[in-house]
Symmetry: C2
Subunit: 214 residues, 2 copies
Amino acid sequence: MDRLDIPPDVVIRRLPLYARSLRYLLDEGIHSVSSQELGERINVTAAQIRKDLSYFGEFGKQGIGYDVEKLLNHIERILGLTHRWPVVLVGVGYLGQAIARYDGFNNQGLQIVGLFDNDPAKIGQAVGSHPILDYSRLQEVVREHQVRLAIIAVPATHAQSVADMLIEAGVRAILNYAPIILQTPDDVWVRYIDPVAVLHSMTYYLARESGEIS
Amino acid sequence: MDRLDIPPDVVIRRLPLYARSLRYLLDEGIHSVSSQELGERINVTAAQIRKDLSYFGEFGKQGIGYDVEKLLNHIERILGLTHRWPVVLVGVGYLGQAIARYDGFNNQGLQIVGLFDNDPAKIGQAVGSHPILDYSRLQEVVREHQVRLAIIAVPATHAQSVADMLIEAGVRAILNYAPIILQTPDDVWVRYIDPVAVLHSMTYYLARESGEIS
DNA sequence: TAGATTGTTAATCGATTAACAATC
DNA sequence: TAGATTGTTAATCGATTAACAATC
């Protein structure tokens, strides 16, 4: 592989899955793994794993496979997970609370440093150890913690204006749970969590399975 | 387009986004839309929208565009959203509660008909109007409501065994929020909601943006 | 009619897979 | 050494885009 090839985004999206699977292997006390074995665990072909990794270097040994801990460390370094990323979360409804309380967010290289809502009844209350702050404090918190990553968990009607605020404050990447496509500058990263859309793509197949539709 | 071409899964995954955007247009009182305009709203090219739709028929008028309501109806029919799909939700922690309470799940062609947990302290309690049931009731509820779609919101350690139970009970499609890849028969549909993996794919770009990593 | 926009074809682009020499 | 598995190349497969005749 020519190391100068930039890795495609599909590859970047798979790396976190490789990392997670390697963490599980480590927990199980497994120290060595082949691309074949790793692939079986995450339903990906061995060739794809090897090709993906080749964008970043050579991490395995012929005839042996990969050292689990070493490969995990490499991938975490590639993903920038050697330190924790400060994150702000906007929208503290049921979903926002679930996110704020989920350990997977607060371990795993992420650290919520601010919770924001525009409901006066919520301001001043706390979720776990995090106080809920007014939007007026957003800029301040983003600057203080040098936050570049934000999560939006407000209703769709409100999401675009929240995104605008976040970007204005200096945020560079947004994970959006609201069911609406955000309009943002090209240099801001936006990704979506859209369970309803995913469910609706499965009903397509279910409807056909049962012969409800041709 | 040869109507016998089966639509690729990427196309099926985009249809719910088209449908949602059309619903918003309808709310705004907009009755006609071109592929260009629709594409701008959801950051997709006009050519892609037209190509995607061509797998299912001809829904537009040259020189005019698409009738919003008619196209929406077509897509909803294609997705099987002309009736509500009964869904069971397993795992009623903070996340499960947020899902159970979210209107987007309970409107939009989906209807939660059963909430399940294995925590004795939760059994018998309710989330909104839904009582939380013991796993022992799962098979019964799935059969009674002819449930084919399930949501898993239990911890990763527990997700595979829950998936096995669901499939055994007759579920045909699973939306899994647990951070683990499920091993399931080929004829069961499984999709994942994995916000931490998504965030980790964004830290890759953020780390490079700031020159922390080459 | 003139202008706009569709549906479709063909060209392009990109991602996955198969295969195998290198080598542990 | 023999067997296993990597990293990489080339072939295949699939998705996106550009372009345009058809037509409203």
